[in-house]
Symmetry: C2
Subunit: 458 residues, 2 copies
C-alpha cells in the first residue's frame, strides 16, 4: 500500500527530507507532497546578502527548482500555504493562491515551516522602502529598491549576522550606511569585548555604527516612502531600511495543532527529529529547538547547515533507515569585507546562564607564519571550565584564514576535550598556513595556564 508523506515548507529541511525519503522509497511505496507558500524551493537564504552585494545571482541560490524535485516524483505545490494541521485525523488543510482550501491526509508529516523575521510593531514598519532579508522575493525587492532614483542613504536595523552582512552589501552599492543596534556592541553572538572588534572593523569600512539605541519609529514622507529611522533621541535619514533584527521559530501552525513548543517558541523534537507525543510528525530546521551539547540547554538557532542535516535525518527515518541529531555546539562563522568572525560553544553570558564557572584567555597571533606574505593578525578568545579545564567556547576575529579555525574547537567541544588536551593537538603546520604554534594552540595553552592559576588561588 502506498503511504503519503506531506511536507510543509519547501526549503532546506522540507526538501532534504523529501529527497532523502525518495532515495530510500520509490513512488510506488511513498507518495510525497510538498506545500510551499512561496514560489521557490531549496534555496539558500544565507546567500541573499551576497546576492544583494553583487557576489552572485538570485538564480544561483536555488539548489533545486520545483521542477527538479518533480522529476524525482515529489509533488511540489507552490503558492500553497498550510493553514491547519489536524494530528488526530492525520491531515493538513491548505489554501492555494486562488483561495481554494483543501484537506490532504498524511501517513508522515514533516513540519519545516522555518523562521519568521522579527518585525517590531512600531509606526511605519510596513512603509515602502523597509525590507526584510528572508526570502528570494525579499532579495529582489531590496535590489529593486536600490535601483530607485535618489537612493543613497541606508539604515540597517540590527547588528547580527544579517545586519553586518547587509551593511557590507549596501556599502558595495555605494550607499552611505548607518547600522542602528539595540546592543552595546554589534554581533551579540560574540562577547562584547570581541564584538567591539567587529565595530572597529565596520567603522573602518565606513559604516556609521549607532549602538545601544532602540528604534521607535520609521518616518515616512508624503509619498508614504521611508525617509528616516527614529530612535528616542535621534533621527537617521534613510532612503532604504533593511531589518536584520533576528528571527523567531515559525510555529503558529504547530502551536494551533497543540504540538509541544519549547521556551524559545520552537517545536520540540526527540533525537530522531520526531515531535514527542506523536507517531508520524517530524520537524526540523529553523522552526525547532536544538540541544546545545555544551550548556545542556535547548536553543533556537536558524542556520542552513542544521536545517539540511535535520532534513536528511528525517528523510532517512521516514525512508526506513535510522539517523539521529545529537545536538549542536553553537558554531557560526561570518565575515565583514575581509574581517572574519567565528564562534563556537558558549559566550560568557551563556556559560553563566548554564550555571558554569569559567576562566578566559585572549591571545593575538597570526593566520600564517609571521614571515610569510599576508600573515594577518587574529584574536582568539577561549573559555574553559574552572577546575576541570573543559573547553566551553571559542571566539575568533581576524583576517583571511582565521574563521574556519573555529572548527578545531567545534570538534574538541563535541569530544569533551579539556584545554590542556588541546595544547597537544597535532594541527596542520606549514608557513603558508600557520605559525609553528597554531593560534588555537596558543589560546589553549594560555587557557590551561589560567585554569591552573585559578585552582592554585582557590
Amino acid at each position: 500500500m502506498t503511504e503519503r508523506l506531506v511536507v510543509i515548507g519547501g526549503d532546506a529541511t522540507g526538501m532534504s527530507a523529501a529527497s532523502q525519503a525518495r532515495r530510500r522509497r520509490s513512488a510506488d511505496e511513498l507518495e510525497i507532497v510538498a506545500f510551499e507558500r512561496g514560489r521557490h524551493t531549496s534555496y539558500s537564504a544565507c546567500g541573499i546578502p551576497y546576492w544583494i552585494g553583487g557576489d552572485t545571482t538570485g538564480d544561483a541560490l536555488i539548489a533545486r527548482t520545483p521542477d527538479e524535485h518533480r522529476a524525482h516524483d515529489i509533488d511540489v505545490r507552490l503558492a500553497t500555504e498550510a493553514i491547519e494541521v489536524d494530528p488526530a485525523a492525520g491531515r493538513v488543510r491548505t489554501r492555494d493562491a486562488d483561495g481554494r482550501e483543501e484537506w490532504t491526509g498524511y501517513d508522515h508529516l514533516v513540519i519545516a515551516t522555518g523562521a519568521v523575521p522579527v518585525r517590531p510593531s512600531i509606526p511605519g514598519i510596513d512603509a515602502d522602502g523597509v525590507h526584510g532579508v528572508q526570502t528570494l522575493d525579499d532579495g529582489e525587492a531590496v535590489l529593486h529598491g536600490l535601483g530607485g532614483a535618489g537612493v543613497r542613504r541606508a539604515v540597517v536595523v540590527g547588528g547580527g549576522y544579517i545586519g553586518v552582512e547587509m551593511a557590507e552589501a549596501l556599502l558595495r552599492h555605494g550607499l552611505d550606511v548607518t547600522l542602528v543596534d539595540r546592543a552595546e556592541q554589534p554581533m551579540t553572538t560574540l562577547d562584547p569585548d570581541m564584538g567591539r572588534l567587529v565595530r572597529v572593523a565596520l567603522e573602518g569600512l565606513g559604516v556609521r555604527v549607532v549602538s545601544g539605541v532602540t528604534v521607535s519609529a520609521v518616518l515616512t514622507g508624503d509619498d508614504g516612502r521611508v525617509r528616516a529611522v527614529a530612535t528616542d533621541e535621534d533621527e537617521y535619514p534613510a532612503d532604504i531600511v533593511v531589518l536584520g533584527i533576528g528571527v523567531r521559530p515559525g510555529t503558529e501552525l504547530a502551536r494551533a495543532a497543540g504540538l509541544p513548543l519549547g521556551a524559545h517558541g520552537g517545536l520540540l523534537t526527540d533525537r530522531a527529529m520526531r515531535v514527542p507525543g506523536t507517531e508520524r510528525i517530524w520537524a526540523g530546521g529553523d522552526c525547532v529547538e536544538v540541544l546545545n551539547l555544551v550548556s545542556g540547554a535547548l536553543q533556537h538557532i536558524a542556520l542552513g547547515t542544521h536545517a539540511n542535516k535535520h532534513g536528511r535525518i528525517i528523510g532517512t527515518n521516514i525512508g526506513g533507515g535510522y539517523a539521529t541529531f545529537p545536538g549542536v555546539v553553537g558554531t557560526a562563522v561570518s565575515k565583514v569585507c575581509d574581517v572574519e568572525l567565528a564562534r563556537t560553544g558558549l559566550l560568557e553570558a551563556q556559560a553563566r546562564a548554564a550555571g558554569l564557572e569559567f576562566v578566559t584567555a585572549v591571545i593575538e597571533s597570526t593566520t600564517r607564519a609571521g614571515y610569510y606574505p599576508d600573515a594577518a593578525t587574529m584574536t582568539v578568545k577561549m573559555l574553559a571550565e574552572r577546575g576541570t579545564g573543559r573547553l566551553l567556547g571559542v571566539q575568533i576575529i581576524g583576517r583571511e584564514g582565521a574563521a574556519k579555525r573555529v572548527d578545531i574547537a567545534a570538534v574538541a567541544l563535541t569530544a569533551g576535550m579539556t584545554v590542556g588536551q588541546m595544547v597537544d593537538l597535532d594541527l596542520g603546520y606549514a608557513p603558508p598556513f600557520s605559525p609553528v604554534w597554531d593560534p588555537v594552540l596558543v589560546a589553549a595553552r594560555k587557557a590551561a595556564d589560567a585554569v591552573a592559576a585559578d585552582i592554585r588561588k582557590s
Copy 2:
C-alpha cells in the same frame, strides 16, 4: 646550589627547552649552556623554500638570535659541535671552530640534534651546484647559485614536501624545472591516487615530473660544476640541483653514547620526553621517534611544530613543572602555488602495515558555497576502519581554504571518533567559508555509508 642544563642543538627543540626552563628557573638556580654547531639559533627551516622563492627574507626566518637568548642568560656557544656524550659521568665533549675540545658537565642534558638530509652515495653528489635545503647556510648557497650566470635549468631530486616546495620556488626564479622522483607519484605522504593530483598540479605549473626513476649519478663538467642528473635510462641537464630526498634522525652522538634508538634510527623517549634508562637526559624534535596515536607505532616525523612542542615540554619538566607529549596523528599541510595538500592519520599502506582493515571514500566538493565567488573544487579522501567505523585518516587536495580543514580530522582522530559521529559535527557554515555541507562532512557521510555497506556484505 646552581644546576647546569646543557643543550645540544640551538634550533626549535633545544632553544624552546632552554627558554622554557629559564622562564621557570632563574640563572641563580639553573645555568644554561647551549651548543650549536652552526651560526644561527631558533630559525624556521620550513621557511627556507619560501625565502628562496622570494616570499620572505633569511633574517625573517630567525625567531630568536643568539644574542636575544643570551639576554635571557642562556649561554649560546655557536660553531661548537658536541662530539661525545658521556652519560655515566654526566658530561659532553665539544669542539669549537678552532678545533679546541672541552668537556662540560651537566645536571640535565637536552639532545636536540635534529635531522640530517639523506644524501645518496652516488658519483658527483658533492659537486659544485648540488644543494641541500636544511640550514640557513644552505638557503644562502642556493640563492647565490641562482644568481650565477647561465643558470636556467634546475633539477629537483625527490618529490616530497621540500621537493615540491623547491620546485615552485625555482619556477619563480624563471628556471626550467625538472622534478626527478623514485616514487610512482610525487608526495608519498599521500596515497598514490591523491599524489596523482599533485603531479597534475605540478605539470600544470610547467614542472616536468619524472617519476619512478632512481638517480644514479650527478654529472659534472670540466669545471667540476654540475651539468646534469643521470638516471639509469636518461640524463637531465641541470645548472643547479636541489636535493629533497628526505631526512633521517641525527643520532650518531646518541648512538655512540649507547642511548636507545628505535627502528627508524630516532632516539626513544618516554611521554615526558626523557630518554628511557636515563635520569637526566631529554630528547625531542627531529632526532626522536614519536608515537602515532592512530597506528600505535613509532614514527620519525621531522616537523617544526612537533619540535617546538617537545622543547616546551622538556623545558617545563626540567623547570620543575610537568608536561607530556601524547603523540601525533600525522598531520601535515603544504602547497604548490595555489594547490593545497593536507593529510592526517594513516595512508592506505600505513593502515595495512598497522594491521588495520579499512574502507575508503573519496568525494569532490567546493571550499565555499558553489554560488560564492572563488568557490574552488577540493577532493577529500577518508579512511575508516572496517566494522567500527573509526576514522583512520584523511587526505585533502584543493585550492585556497582546503588544506587547513584537515584539522577537523586531526581533532576527530585524537578523540577517536567514528566517521558516523563526524557526520553530525557542528562545523562553521556561511557561504564565503563552506557549502552548507562542509566537504569533510560529505566525506564522512560517504565513508559511513561505505562502512555500513561493508558490514552488510561481510
